[in-house]
Amino acid sequence: MVELSELEHDALVEIFNIGVGQAAAAMSGIVGEEVTMSVPSITFLSRMEAAQLLEDAHRRSGIGSGRDAGERICGVSQHYEGAFQTEAILMFPEDKSLEIVRLMVGESVPLAELSEMEQEAMSEIGNIILNSCVGTLANIFQHELHGSLPVYQVGSSDEILDATGSRAETVVMMLHIDFILEKHQIHGYVAFILDVTALHDLKDQIDRYLARAMGQQ
């Protein structure tokens, strides 16, 4: 596992905050309301730890809802490749993703049914957020990546994170995302699945970015 220094971690958080700022602006344009998005923190985990993190967060937020464990997660994933490869997945608890779609669409939609149309809306929201995050990353690192169309999936955290197929030696870079619209605050995650080489690449790029920023290059 690669460790990032505090400065490197801060740099990454700052870069992603710029990225989600763009996404928030795009969504604000769609819904006509102010949308706030921020990335309060980033953690690096193994795939198993990441699945556990999502489960725990779920259980905590599901207090008092009377629902059983194994509440489902909605994931929108896109594949990026070029200078490096990664699977990026935006994740919200299923009912939260519905809430976001409802807020964006402005209709009162029955909660229990997730229809195909709403799935596509969620796919677009994921597409906007992921493209903004990765776009900023790519710009700052001056690398080019090709991004695929979004794929929508609902399942347990294990299923969502495993969907890309088991690959040995992968690390999950997990962004915690805060999404605020009309006084609703929704907490979600963006997971980047990287192999160790890509992770080293990332660390290298952050260091180069910092060096450039500090006038050393």
Binding site: V101, S115, S123, N127, N131, L145, S148
Partner: protein, 322 residues
């Protein structure tokens, strides 16, 4: 297969498919505009090719489509425009009749980058007609609503049931909080209902409930006011945007309606030998930051007070309870 015949094959496929295919070059100029596009946009291929897409369709400027094209040409990223969030970004019509009515086709749009070697980066826009799927979904939703109404209504009286009430009170309190407005709740209980049932029989007891519910419902004219059967002989009325005075006034009106029914009740424990109701009134005001439980608790509290004070009366909950 020769290059020419292969080219012919691909062109015929492109012209035959039931999706719109538009390709833009790096400068945003249209280099491909298939037959589906011509048919549904009313713009022929020879007019479209060579033109800047955003000059051909200026309404697309500054919107999601332009952002997606930029993402593809500059960043090599793909974008999806879902029909739910972008109903009909392109001016496309299913047929001439729809065009006459100004009824646009509902579209799903996908924008993907294309690397064409020496020609550089291009952008492919695919468009599909999802109007039928959208129509089906609408129908399904309406049918579900209908079913939902059936499971939310009380079998005996036809008014909303407890489940409907629980959903509604939650929704109205949240709405009131969002809007910074008030919401009032009335808890109405038929006086001496048990002795009525015991002496007149359950069938007549049921009839009494039906008549009381009907009388109450007739008095509630606004569609946002909700009457629900809360329990055996208990009713609840949700009055959004009603302050304590308005709620009290409504309680008085409802109380009066029941008295006017003049349903005889020889076995009532009080002085009035007819069916009467006791009513508890409570109002949630935004400054007090109460919640659903507090509102119901306060209305209940007021109802019990009305019973204790002799029934056949209205009591308003003290504001401190909320």
């Amino acid at each position: 297969m020769t290059d020419t015949s292969r080219l012919q094959l691909l062109e015929s496929v492109l012209e035959a498919v039931s999706v719109g295919a538009v390709v833009l070059d790096a400068d945003g100029r249209i280099v491909l505009w298939n037959r589906w596009m011509s048919r549904h946009s009313g713009c022929a291929s020879h007019k479209a090719v060579g033109t800047d897409l955003f000059e051909l369709m200026p309404e697309l400027r500054g919107g999601r489509v332009q952002a997606a094209v930029t993402q593809a040409l500059q960043n090599n990223f793909s974008s999806l425009l879902s029909p739910t969030l972008n109903r009909s970004p392109f001016p496309l019509f299913a047929n001439a009749a729809c065009e006459g009515r100004g009824e646009r086709m509902q579209q799903a749009v996908a924008v993907t980058p294309l690397s064409l070697g020496d020609s550089g980066r291009h952008c492919l826009i695919q468009l599909s007609d999802v109007s039928m799927a959208a129509g089906r979904e609408k129908l399904l939703r309406e049918q579900t609503e209908l079913l939902r109404m059936q499971t939310f209504s009380d079998g005996l009286t036809g008014i909303a049931n407890r489940r409907a009430f629980d959903v509604a009170i939650d929704r109205e309190v949240r709405r009131a909080k969002r809007a910074g407005s008030m919401v009032s709740l009335l808890m109405i209980d038929i006086d001496y209902f048990k002795p009525y049932n015991d002496h007149y029989g359950h069938q007549q007891g049921d009839q009494c409930l039906i008549q009381v519910a009907s009388a109450l419902q007739a008095q509630l004219q606004r569609s946002v006011d909700m009457l629900a059967r809360y329990g055996g002989e208990e009713f609840a009325v949700i009055l959004p945007d009603n302050d304590p005075h308005q709620a009290l006034h409504m309680a008085g009106t409802l109380h009066g309606r029941i008295v006017k029914l003049a349903l005889p009740h020889e076995y009532a424990g009080g002085p009035d030998k007819q069916i009467t109701v006791s009513i508890g009134v409570a109002t949630l005001v935004p400054e007090r930051h109460g919640d659903v439980a507090a509102l119901i608790g306060a209305a209940d509290h007021a109802l019990y007070a009305a019973k204790r004070q002799g029934r056949n009366r209205i009591v308003a909950a003290p504001p401190e309870l909320l």
